[in-house]
Amino acid sequence: MPFNIYDFSTTTKAVDEFLKANMSPTWAFITELTIVGLVFLIFYAIVGLYLVYAERKVCAFMQNRVGPNRVGKWGLFQTIADLIKLLMKELITIKKADKLLYNVAPFIVIIASFMAIAAIPFAKGLHAVDFNIGVFYMMAVSSIGVVGILIAGWSSNSKYSLIGAMRSGAQVVSYELSVGLALVSVVIFSGSMQLSTIVESQANGWWIFKGHLPAIVAFFMFLIASTAEINRGPFDLAEAESELTAGFHTEYSGIKFAFFFLSEFMNMFIVASLAATVFLGGWMPLHIGNLEAFNRIMDFIPPIFWYFGKTIFVIYLIMWFKWTFPRLRIDQLLNLEWKYLLPINLVNTLLIAFLVLMGWYFK
């Protein structure tokens, strides 16, 4: 089986051909789907768990602590131990809760984040579905999560949960705009909504460098707005533990709580990978002008490492925010969106459209 770490399309094509040669097209399709599904499930679990671990380590180092270091070397298996603990915990259902919605909510949240992974281009050819409206798809799918949060808050029949859910609703609805506009700026630059095309368009330089100041502004807008959209960092009002104990998931326990927890971290991963893909060139290596030798060395690093490196960098930024800033109040949060982020974003988008129209950017 041909395997090339620089281009996964040969591998995937080989698998496809192998399956088609051995069984009927329908079965081959089903088998492919199963393989992709299983791979993503495992990927999801590993990334989710290790993001939790990473968060705990990052915050520990920022806080002069060592962080988890008991289970395995450097505590590497701590989150797995936690998961096992959560799996064994009792699933408490509130007596007066709306049973159906209460049980469905964690699944909606986790499915929403699971669906978003499908469109992420991990490396050249490593892509589950390459939608021609990839950016749009990501936006649409990631907004489903808030429905789950609202349902969770409502069905728990707890006042804390309800406040948390309502906050989350208001927050996500307003910050969706800024996320969208920030992404639109790159769509304007690259002229496509297909994620693979956007990545290809950054072969000679990432948009954050090619697009002058407006692209940098758009990147930070995206970072801020998406941090708010995934209820993290200084914008974690939905679960504000010092005000609402745990917000919308106050009444959840065991694995259902773990679903919320895991999906929160996966959302962070998705947002970070989206930022890496559209602004930081996805799996494209860093190229600097005409430094041939430098560019050659950069090309030598496999694209998948580039992709993960950038994603981890963005994730680190998001964690850095969370562990430094105090939390905003709900009205300040909405102020920030409607009075600062949205107007700046609109002007920025106009500016980018103008730049593209005049061709004033590095091509």
Partner: protein
């Protein structure tokens, strides 16, 4: 008066008010305290504090204990100002006996009080940052507080509840390392305190969360008996160390921090500035501790002459008054503590009504409540 009666709460519930119990088990009440909160959207209509969850009857217990035995109970009221609480009872008893303690004792008591104040304010800063959602503050505050606790542990063997100051002086002399360690700590903390400012004070989110939140005028602060840094944030010059100096406070030079804004930000700033002042006081005294005995000559059994004695002391949270009524026995006939948190708590409704639910947390954090001190 905006106090709402319990009956009103019950009727209000039927009217469809959104009533939430914040506490008794809640991360931000810093103990077992309950706020009954009525909401309109996110806005608070009224806040009713309910206390008594850790009422231990310390005043009743005191009636059956001798004066040296009472000391260890006072530790457990405001456990973050253990030294000041001990000192208050000791001073009251000494006043009743007419004893003058040696200068060495006075100096050491003052240094300890200020160290305790620093430790208490550090913990408050840590917890206040956490209340507002900045968790990192919590660890920085505790990291530095640990150094003070180490100093305490070396000299008196315990970190939180010392029972170190006793009527007549101190339980034992300070450790030979005490002065050096304290000076080391001051140089260390002078470097770390600006970091607190960078992390939280200057932060735009923090400023927005605290400025113009929970405003109390000076007159109201006096009326409510809001003392300590919270009162001084409203411009109420209530520092007992200045007004009725005790121990060695008349020998040192320090500023009484006053802010006139009366909001959460002012209460925060008072405490931050007080940390600098505390360090100044310690620096003035630490090198000049006179030689001498660590305790005055005391009879083995202390009997206060018949009469009433009181002593007011400035703890980290405000004015602590100890009121002893003695009938000439070896235990007090009636002992009363005017604890700072008791008065500070009941200003909550006045401060928080009309603000957001997140502001309730900021305000109660800025009042720096210690619940055992309220309930006693």
């Amino acid at each position: 008066m905006q106090e709402v009666e319990l009956q009103d709460i019950l009727t209000a519930r039927e009217d469809g008010d959104y009533i939430i119990n914040i506490g008794p088990q809640h991360p931000s009440t810093h103990g077992v305290l309950r706020f009954v909160v009525s909401l309109k959207g996110e806005t608070l209509e009224y806040v009713i504090p309910h206390c008594g969850y850790i009422h231990r009857g310390i005043e009743k217990m005191c009636e059956r204990l001798t004066y040296p035995q009472i000391i260890h109970l006072t530790d457990r009221m405001d456990y973050l100002s253990a030294h000041m609480n001990n000192e208050a009872v000791s001073l009251a008893v000494e006043k009743g006996l007419g004893i003058e303690v040696p200068d060495r004792v006075k100096y050491i008591r003052t240094i300890l009080s200020e160290l305790q104040r620093l430790a208490s304010h550090q913990l408050w800063w840590a917890a206040f940052g956490m209340d507002l959602g900045g968790l990192t503050c919590f660890f920085y505050g505790l990291r530095d507080r640990e150094k003070i606790l180490d100093i305490f542990e070396e000299s008196f063997g315990s970190r939180l509840l010392h029972s170190y100051i006793c009527p007549g002086g101190l339980m034992n002399d300070i450790h030979p390392n005490f002065q050096k360690r304290t000076k080391d700590f001051i140089t260390y903390f002078r470097k770390k305190l600006p970091e607190y400012d960078e992390l939280l004070t200057g932060n735009i989110i923090f400023e927005q969360r605290t400025k113009n939140i929970g405003i109390l005028s000076k007159e109201e602060a006096v009326g409510y008996g809001l003392t300590g840094p919270s009162g001084r944030g409203s411009g109420f010059a209530c520092d007992i160390r200045k007004r009725f100096p005790y121990s060695a406070y008349d020998k040192v030079n320090f500023k009484e921090i006053l802010y006139n804004e009366g909001d959460t930000w002012a209460r925060y700033k008072v405490r931050m500035d007080e940390m600098w002042e505390s360090m100044r006081i310690i620096e003035q005294l630490i090198d000049n501790i006179p030689e001498g005995d660590f305790t005055a000559k005391m009879k083995p059994i202390i009997r206060l002459p018949e009469g009433e004695y009181h002593q007011r002391v400035e703890t980290a949270r405000g004015e602590l008054g100890v009121y002893i009524i003695s009938t000439g026995e070896k235990n007090p006939y009636r002992m009363h503590f005017r604890t700072p948190n008791f008065s500070n708590l009941f200003v909550m409704n006045r401060l928080a009504a009309g603000f957001k639910i997140a502001d309730l947390i900021a305000i109660s954090g800025s009042l720096d409540l210690v619940i055992p001190d309220i309930d006693r």
